[in-house]
Every structure is written in C-alpha cells, then in structure tokens.
C-alpha cells in the first residue's frame, strides 16, 4: 500500500488544505507542511529499505514494490504501480522539492491560500503517480492530471502576463500528450492483435514486435510527448513564458519535477519500448540536445529578467539529459539521472532565491539590480553556491551528472561530446554574469532589503547540503539507479551491442567491492 499511499496521501492533503482554507489562512500551510513531511519520511524510508533489502540486485522484470489490480478490465487497463531504483530516486526528489515548495510559498501566497496548496499538493500527487505507474493508460492519466492544478497555480497566482503563459503551456503539453496517447493506443492494438491479449501493461508491451516503420512513428509520438515536457528545442518555447509568470512554488515544481517527468519518460518508456527506432533516432535527438544546450545558454545570457534567465538555463541543462538518454549506455544514463536530481535541486534553489529577491524588491530586472551582496550577504552567499552548482563546479551535484554524461556520450560520438563541453563554458558565463549583475557591482538604485529570514535560511541550507552530498558522495544515488538502468538496458541490448555491462547482473560482493570508485560504473 506504500505506493498508493504516496500519491493518495497528497490528494487527501490537498483536499484538506482546501477545505481548511475556507476558515483559516494559516491552516492550509501547516496542513500541507505536515503532509509533505510525512510524505518525505515515507519516501526516504522506502529508499532506505530499498538500499538495505535486495533492492540493489533486482533482476530484469522484478520490482522492489508492486501493486496491481484491475481498473477497467474491459479495456485491459490495470491499476499497476511499481518502483525500482530509478522511480525511488525521483519520488524522493518529489517529496523533497515538494516540501521546499510548500515552505517557500509560506509568506508569498496571501490570497486563496487553501486553493493554492490544494493545487500544489495535487501536482505533486500527479507527479508521484507518473514516476510509479507502469500501466501505460494509468501513466497517461497521471501525466495529464498534473497539468490542471499547474494550470491553476500559474493562472491564478502568476504574474501579469499569466493568462497567455498558462494557455500556451497547456496547449503545448496537452496536444503533445495526445500524440503520445495515439502512440500508446497504437501499441496497444498492435500488441493485442499479435497476442490476442489486449493490455496496457508496460511489462507485457515491452516485447511487442512492431515493424520498424511503424515503430518509428510510434516512437515519434512518445518523443513529442516527452520532448515538450523536457523541453527539447524547438518545442521549448512554452517553458520560459510559464516560468516567468509562475509563482515561486510553481517554478520550483515545474523545473524540478514536471520537466523531470519528461526525462523519466524517455528512460522508462521511449527507449525500452522502441529500442530500434530509438537508436535510429538517437543522432537526431542528440543533435537537438546539443542545439538546446548551446542555443538556450546563449539566449539565457541575453536575458535581463532574472527568472527568465534561470528558465533558459533549464532548457540548456535538459539538453544534457537528452544527450545522456540517447547515448544509452550505463555512464550516460547514470549521468542523466544524476542531472535530473541535481538540476532539480540547483534550479529549484535558484528559483526560490529569485522569488525571495522579487518578494523584497518587486523587480527581477537585472539592469536595475546590483550590489545586493553588501545589503544581504546571506542571500548573496547562497546565491553564489547555487550559481556555482548550476555552472557545474566540481564538488557540487551538477558536475557529477554532466561529467558522466560527457563520458558516456564520448563513447558514442566524439564530436557531440566535444560540442557539449561548450555548454560548460556557456553556463559558466551566464551563471557568473547573473551573480555579477545581481550581487556585485554598484548598488545603483540603493536597494535596501532585509536579509534572509530563518525560514529562508533553512530552505537554502537544506538545498546546499543536498547539493554537496550529491556532489561529494554520489555513490548512494548511483548505486540506487544502477541496477534499474541496467535492466532497462538489458531490454534493449539486442540493438545496443556496445553496452556490454548490461549482460550480467553483478553480485552484492562485486557491488561492495566497487563502492570506492564512482558508483562502481566500470
């Protein structure tokens, strides 16, 4: 029941917060905080028990936890939730960032508090569901569910141009999702007509024989669905608008979790379901990734709006994820998972920071900012750490991920890896530029503002600790995702001969032996 709990608990929490909000402004905050803390405890306990109980050696087709019961039996739709290492990592990330999103909207949201937290918790519930659902219909269901509350979150509590941003966001994601739905349905019918057993069960659909030509189109449907969420260039244009207009918690959830759902979809569904088509398409996808990395970094550098800048850096970082996924070897995949986590933390942190500055000064225009370090040294210090994390400084989380992705991509294509390293330079430039324009230089407008409050400091501190931990001791995370990724690779091993590690499962001793180096990758 743990898995059902992980999303049902948040649904319940959201409803309670909404009802409580009708009588009291404070109540929804405390209710959401309490529910998120419990959620975090449960998910961390799940992780710990995964690490200690056999979770590390799951064979292909095994799940650490699984819940399965019929839902709409006439159509072969099941209520099928299951987790492996990959899912668990993302669920822990969801709880952690969810908790911070609740905390960072404590003061900023003063109107319709109940409905706000209702929406926030329901987004988190939908995302938790996405990371666990292994019935394609159920997956699509969760995938779409999280859109509505996010739409409200941006549409009601957003900034001035929010209506345009929400509608753009909604139409992009909804339309792309429907193309994915067509692919899901087509796969369902192909599988059904071959075996006579109509089902949306991911595990059963994995082995479906689809003719290469059709597989390519189906893969493209999935690519569109996930690519818009990720977002991959050229379908990224909704993201900067949505981010700019969203309230802080909305941005945190959007950058930290919603985008990750796209990345997760690539790893869990697209490649294993259509390995051959995925391989054929890999070069195109990686080139899109490269374009994303470099183009978005350049656009980020050109921004005046602090938040828009951070939004474009997201697009740039997600380019690395796209590279990592389509390189599809152990190193690159581990790296992609690592970026998923570290980008969630570092970008979430930057968005919270930008939100706090905006709450104080009511501007995000970098031309007007400057010299804030002397006014608010604590904010400045934390901002510095987050910017360094974002540019990939060794010792912080992002470095590990991007480094691993580069290693992995290098095995597949040297020119692409070389081009991707340009992203490091670009990210260094825009990150330092951002810090320079905001915190250093002259305080021309003589801004005066209070420094970070204890609430804010604890949020930042939690993020810094997480970033450092992932950066210095990435082993725990890498070990968690390792076997899950291997199993996924094994499914596709027929088409990816290069991934030699995928052939056998290592024993526990081997794993323990290799703990000293990076996650025992090679």
């Amino acid at each position: 029941m743990t898995l059902t709990f992980l999303f049902a608990w948040l649904i319940l929490g959201g409803l309670l917060a909404w009802l409580a909000g009708r009588w009291n402004k404070e109540a929804p905050r405390w209710i959401s905080l309490g529910f998120m803390i419990v959620h975090l405890i449960v998910s961390v306990r799940l992780w710990i028990s995964f690490l200690t109980n056999k979770g590390l050696t799951l064979a292909q087709g095994e799940w650490f936890l699984m819940e399965k019961s019929p839902w709409i039996p006439q159509w072969g739709i099941q209520y099928f939730l299951a987790v492996d290492g990959l899912s668990i990592l993302l669920i822990v990330l969801t709880s952690f960032l969810g908790l911070l999103a609740v905390a960072c909207s404590w003061k900023g949201i003063q109107e319709r508090v109940g409905f706000f937290f209702f929406n926030l918790l329901w987004i988190l519930a939908g995302i938790s569901g996405v990371f666990m659902a292994l019935d394609l219909f159920l997956f699509y269901f969760f995938w779409e569910i999280m859109l509505i509350p996010l739409y409200f979150l941006i549409g009601i509590w957003g900034h001035s141009n929010r209506i345009y941003a929400t509608i753009k966001f909604f139409i992009f994601t909804q339309a792309s999702g429907l193309f994915m739905l067509i692919s899901i349905l087509a796969l369902y019918f192909i599988h059904g007509s071959q075996t006579g057993h109509y089902t949306f069960d991911y595990v059963e659909l994995l082995g479906t024989q689809v003719s290469p030509k059709i597989a390519f189109w189906l893969m493209l449907g999935f690519f569109l669905g996930f690519g818009v969420k990720l977002p991959a260039v050229p379908v990224h244009t909704w993201l900067p608008d949505a981010h700019t207009e969203a309230p802080t918690a909305g941005s945190v959830v959007l950058a930290g979790l919603v985008l990750k759902a796209g990345a997760y979809g690539f790893i869990r569904f697209l490649m294993p379901l259509f390995p051959q088509a995925g391989k054929e398409f890999a070069m195109v996808a990686m080139i899109l990734g490269i374009i994303g990395i470099i183009y978005a970094a350049m656009v980020a550098f050109a921004q005046n709006d602090l938040k828009r800048l951070v939004a474009y850096t997201s697009v740039s970082h997600m380019g690395f994820v796209l590279l990592g996924v389509f390189a599809w070897n152990q190193l690159a995949l581990q790296g992609a998972v690592m970026i998923i986590l570290s980008h969630g933390l570092s970008t979430g942190a930057l968005f919270i920071l930008v939100g706090d500055i905006y709450d104080r000064l009511h501007t995000r225009d970098m031309d007007k900012l400057g010299g804030l370090w002397s006014v608010t040294p604590r904010l400045g210090g934390f901002g510095m750490v987050f910017a360094l994390a974002s540019l990939g400084l060794p010792g912080l989380a992002n470095f590990v991920g991007e480094f691993l992705v580069l290693l992995g991509v290098y095995q597949v294509s040297v020119p692409i890896a070389a081009l991707a390293t340009l992203g490091f330079i670009a990210s260094t430039i825009y990150s330092l530029w951002m810090i320079q324009k905001t915190f250093f230089g002259k305080n021309v407008n003589e801004w005066k503002m209070p420094d970070a409050t204890p609430r804010e400091i604890s949020i930042y501190a939690a993020l810094v600790v997480a970033l450092l931990w992932l950066g210095l001791f990435p082993n725990t995370v890498l070990r968690t995702s390792r076997q899950a990724l291997k199993n996924l690779q094994q499914i596709t091993s027929q088409y990816f001969q290069g991934s030699k590690e995928a052939t056998t499962n290592p024993s526990v001793e081997e794993l323990n032996k290799s703990r000293s180096n990076y996650g025992g990758l090679e």
């Binding site: 739905l181 067509i182 059904g192």
Partner: protein, 482 residues
C-alpha cells in the same frame, strides 16, 4: 397487441399519458409547482417501467418499433436527462417568465416522447413521426419566452429550417423506398450492403436523408441554426436541444447503420468523413471567436458531434472498442456535461437577462466557488481532460478510430482537441480572474436553489466518477449493444 408488447411499450405509454394527465390537471387548477412535480413523477414512473420491459421477450413491437436493450438504454438516459432539465426549468420560469408556465412541461414531455420514439424506431414511418413530434414541440419551446425578440427569432429560424430539412428527409426516404420497396431499416440496409445496388437514386436518397440527420445534429454544413437557437432559447431548452433531441437522432442513426460497414462503402464514407472533418474544424474555429458562452457551447457542440461521427464511422466491425459503444459513452458524458453547463447558465440569470456573456463569469470563483468549480469540471470534461468523463469518452473514440485505422480522422481529432482546449480554458480563466470595482455593479449574482444545487453536485460527481471509474457504464453500454 399482446401482453408482452404492452409491457414492452409501458415506458412509452406512461410517457405519453403524462402530458394528458397534466393537461387535465391544468384544466382543473393551473399551478406551476404541481405541473412540474407531475411531470417529474410521470418520468420517474416511465423510468421504473424500464426493467419490466427489459425482462420481457419479443423486442419487435409491431413493424414500427423495436424495444431492445439498446433502445431501453437510451430511454433511461433520456428520461433521466429530462428529469434533470425540469428542475432548473422550474426555477428559470419562476424567475423569468410571467405568463402561463405550465404548458412548457407539456411541450418538454412531448419532445422527450419524440426523442424516445426515435431511439426505438425501426421503420421510416415511426422515424418520421417521432422526428416531427420532437420538432414541433421544440418550435414552441424555443420561442417559449414570447416577450423576447431573441426567442421569437430563434423559434422562427428553427421552424423554417427544420421544416425544410424534414422535406429533404421525406424526399430522401421516398427515393430510397422507390429502390428498396420496404421502409424497414433492416431491408434498406440489406439493400445498401450489396454493392451492385449502388445506383444514383439510392445514393441520392441516402444523401438526402443525411441532410435531415445532419440538420438535427447541427453538423456542418447544416449547422447554421444552432448558435442562434442556442442563444435565443431559454437555457434549459438549449440544454434539451443539445442533449435529448440530438441524442435521439444519434440513437436512430446508430441503429440504422448498425449492420452496415461505413468504412467499406466509399460514397457513404466520403459523405460522413467530410461532415465529421468540417464539423470539427468549423465548430472549433468559430467557437474560438465567441464571447457568448451559449454560442460558444453551440459551436463546441458542432465539434463534439464531429468527434462522435468519427466513432460512428468506425462502426461496429472490430472486436475491441466498437465505435457505437464509444459514441454512446460519449453521448452519456456529453449529456451530463452539457446539461450541467446550461444549468449553470440558467442559474446565473436574473429577470432581465441570462448570464451568457463571458464577462458575466468573471471572478465567479470568488463569488460562488462551488458553482465555478462545477462549471470548471464541465469545461474540463468538454475539453477531454483526465479525471472527467470527457477524457474517457474521447479516449474511447480515439481507440475506436485507431482500431479501424482511421488515421487521418484521428489526427484531425487530436488537432481539434488542442484547439478546443483553448476556448474551454478561456471560460475557466475568466472565472478565476479578478473583477474591478466598476464591473462589480453589472454582475449578476447567481441564486442557486437547494434542489438545483444538489442536482449540480450529483452531475459533477457523476462526471468525476465516470472519469475515474468508468467500468460500470462501459459494462452496461456493452450489454445494451445490438
């Protein structure tokens, strides 16, 4: 007539008797409440007669009617829908109409009678008679608020166009009859199924009949009347036209073509596919431009019947996801949604006007949260977003289309869904926007009665329930298929 036939016809008989009783009641004492209650009681009695009819043998009742599981399913649906429409009608008439209110219910019941007759028709004669009973009642209903120019205009438009379309229909029927020599649906379809019988006259006859169908369903290019009629008619009557009236015609259309594989018949496939494609595009594009919620719903309804036609074209051939099942599910979902939406429009009205402009809904959430949550749910359902029945319904149609490989139609449906999202969201966005002080004065404050409130809650819950757990309804639809 045997005893079996009598039991089979019981729901219809009760439904037909209710207007007579009401007429007598009006003759004795004219009272709005009594009339409304009597009509609800009559409809419930007819509803409770359905199980009796269900377990009686002998579906074919005379040459004219067939009362099988399928017909009874539609009976139940229409009875329930009319009951739900009567409640807001009562409130609406109390508020907005000072003349004789009682005859409204007579007309509503006879219109339902016509619709129900359509669902059970098996013969051109019963088809045409039912259609005319439905249409004639609707002429009067549309123009019921006769002190209003809009209403009169809408009623006249409907009268003239419906009469013309009936003429087309009759002419089509007579052409078909001249070729087939029978007016039984089964004979007609058997005739058409044989490829050698595709001569000009029979195709022309069917095409002319399609004009009649198309008019009632308001699909492009026979849709011109619908925005004006939706706008001019009282909100509950618009709800009735959008749901029960169109549902009856669809039920008949499905029955007529039940044994016929449209995909394999080039001329018919072309006709229906073109109608579907144009309905989707025209409906959605014109809906984009509307600032009047009733007109918006009218255009969106055109698009929705385009979607339903996709499922209708997919037909009954495949094993899984039969098109007619999908369409029936869609109709149930659409009934709930559209009746709910028009109910809310009816509630946001005062003596002078109905709240049908988009600006009337501005900031509704802050004034009346529950009402706006219900309307949002309806809009999400129309847009086909998960957690609402509209999603499952659209999914069902997509699945039926894909299983018959109607790729072009499916892609067009997807594009139109995305278009549709835009204007449905505009309504919700409006409800969650802030109102400035000067606008506040012109806003209509909704007055929700207890009964309307409960009904609306029931509709919303049904909407979400079907969106999360559609198994039961799917099961009963599959059981009800011919």
């Amino acid at each position: 007539m045997t005893g079996h036939d009598f039991l089979k016809l019981m729901p219809i008989i009760i439904l037909a008797a209710t207007p007579l009783i009401i007429m007598l009641a009006i003759a004795i004492k004219r009272n709005h409440l009594i009339t409304a209650v009597l009509s609800v009681v009559g409809l419930f009695a007819a509803l409770f007669a359905i199980p009796g009819a269900k377990y009686t043998n002998g579906d074919q009742v005379s040459n004219l009617f067939i009362i099988d599981q399928y017909a009874l399913f539609y009976f139940a649906l229409m009875f329930l829908a009319t009951i739900v429409i009567i409640v807001p009608s009562f409130q609406y008439l109390e508020l907005r109409f000072k003349g004789n209110r009682e005859e409204y219910y007579l007309l509503l019941l006879t219109a339902t009678f016509g619709s129900v007759g359509l669902a059970a028709s098996n013969h051109f004669i019963s088809f045409f008679l039912s259609l005319e009973i439905l249409s004639v009642s609707l002429y009067a209903l549309v123009a019921y608020l006769r002190h209003q120019n809009d209403g009169i205009e809408a009623g006249l438009k409907y009268l003239i166009l419906a009469a013309v379309s009936s003429a087309f229909l009759l002419f089509g029927m007579s052409l078909v009859y001249s070729q087939v020599g029978s007016m039984q649906f089964k004979d007609v379809i058997n005739f058409l199924s044989q490829n050698g019988n595709y001569n000009f006259i029979s195709i022309a006859g069917v095409a002319l009949m399609v004009v009649g169908f198309g008019f009632k369903l308001a699909v492009v290019p026979f849709h011109m009347w619908s925005p004006d009629v939706y706008q001019g008619a009282p909100a509950p009557v618009s709800a009735f036209i959008a749901s029960v009236s169109k549902g009856g015609i669809l039920a008949l259309l499905f029955r007529f073509f039940a044994e016929f594989n449209i995909v394999q018949s080039r001329p018919l496939f072309t006709i229906f596919a073109l109608i579907a494609v144009f309905s989707m595009f025209v409906g959605n594009f014109l809906a984009l431009l509307q600032s009047n919620v009733k007109r918006l719903l009218a255009y969106s309804s055109i698009a929705h019947f385009g979607y339903i036609l996709v499922a209708f074209i997919a037909g009954n051939a495949q094993q899984q996801f039969k098109g007619v099942e999908a369409a029936t599910f869609y109709i149930v979902s659409y009934f709930i949604t559209i009746i709910g939406a028009f109910m809310i429009i009816g509630l946001i009205s005062n003596e002078e006007r109905e709240g049908m402009e988009m600006s009337d809904y501005r900031g509704l959430y802050w004034r009346h949260p529950w009402l706006s949550v219900a309307l949002s749910a309806m809009m999400f359902s129309l847009a086909g977003i998960p957690l609402t029945s509209g999603f499952i319904a659209k999914y069902y149609i997509l699945a039926s289309g894909i299983s018959t490989k109607l790729w072009t139609l499916i892609i067009i449906l997807i594009i139109n869904s995305a278009l549709g999202v835009y204007y449905y969201l505009r309504v919700t966005v409006e409800m969650f926007s802030n109102v400035d002080a000067e606008q506040k004065a012109t806003l209509i404050s909704p007055n929700v009665g207890i009964l309307s409130g409960i009904l609306l809650a029931v509709l919303t819950i049904a909407l979400v329930w079907l969106g999360v757990y559609p198994t039961g309804l799917i099961g009963s639809i599959q059981a009800a298929m011919f």
